[in-house]
Symmetry: none
Subunit: 163 residues, 2 copies
DNA sequence: TAAAATCCCATAAAATCCCATTGTATCCCG
DNA sequence: CGGGATACAATGGGATTTTATGGGATTTTA
């Protein structure tokens, strides 16, 4: 049970005055190969100070996985609670946004706050999903491998910003 | 679980003003026998100052291996972080590029920098994957066997460059 | 009816396609 | 077996298309 097309690569895009951001074309192409949707859902990442993003096909997969987990251990009362909590996080704590014909989404203010995204958004493919970072926060995080920070620095340079 | 067709051989190709490079035909034929894709993914080699390259079939294999590792040790919290890090390196720190009908890719500027590739790219088959070197860096590296350096020198002469 | 979201158009840079050339390896046939 | 004919690989250059992005106009929503 795996998705055939995986997200990979990195890009640094601008968030404009209206809060719009282009989703990099190479990520959109994966979304559109996985299904026929043109939306992404956003969530606070569970361990990093960034956003986690994915497409409807992945969301469905994740939901099915939760269901199966529940069926397997449904006797335990703890399992019930955990299932409720996970379900809340997976659906209530996320936002689904469409991207327009030019590939841009309007970053919802709440998510923008949760992910601490400023006027630059660093997109990182991570296989089944992708992440959206404030590049400065990534550079500060001790858990991020140096090689990846080099990439973030390169993307910043490429764009003219220093750091 | 091993791949049936292996990359082998060497070639020295030019990187043109637009950043385009021909992928040697004998490497492309392996890619196309492994699957029906016409793309390669590029990554910084983990120990040599060059790029590591492979096809989607190999990438899928590698991903499946990572997933299995996670399932085995998913209880530990350290394991979670390690998984996140590996995933970032495997996907965010790589770039997938298609080659066109004439067998050329556009070498992404970031990879070109990471691999320190100038206007000559030395391709070396290494079985499951292949490597792309700046030939001068290969000649300088003390870890590279002399016989292989001879091959690099031969490829350079063949092309007219001395060294 | 304001504010916010969406649509539409414009643009510059970058990526991609298409065609042409050249050298080399392979084929074919007398 | 020779020698031209053919096919393919690598590469250059121009034309075309896609991407990321800004800004104005229009529509929706509260």
């Amino acid at each position: 049970m795996a998705l055939e097309h995986l997200f990979q690569g990195s890009a640094l895009n601008a968030v404009d005055a209206k809060g719009r951001v282009s989703i990099p074309a190479f990520l959109r192409s994966v979304i559109e190969r996985r299904g026929d949707a043109r939306t992404i859902t956003l969530a606070k990442h569970e361990s990093f100070p960034c956003l986690s993003a994915y497409d409807p096909a992945y969301a469905a997969l994740k939901h099915a996985k939760l269901e199966r987990l529940l069926e397997k251990e449904e006797t335990s009362p703890d399992a019930q609670l955990e299932y409720q909590q996970r379900n809340l996080m997976a659906f209530a704590a996320t936002e689904e946004v469409p991207y327009d014909s030019s590939g841009r989404i309007l970053m919802p203010p709440m998510m923008r706050r949760k992910g601490q995204i400023g006027d630059l958004a660093l997109f990182l493919g991570t296989g089944e999903t992708f992440q959206i970072w404030n590049p400065e926060l990534l550079l500060k995080d001790p858990r991020i491998p140096d090689d990846l920070k080099d990439i973030a620095r390169f993307r910043l340079e490429e764009r003219g910003a220093s750091s």
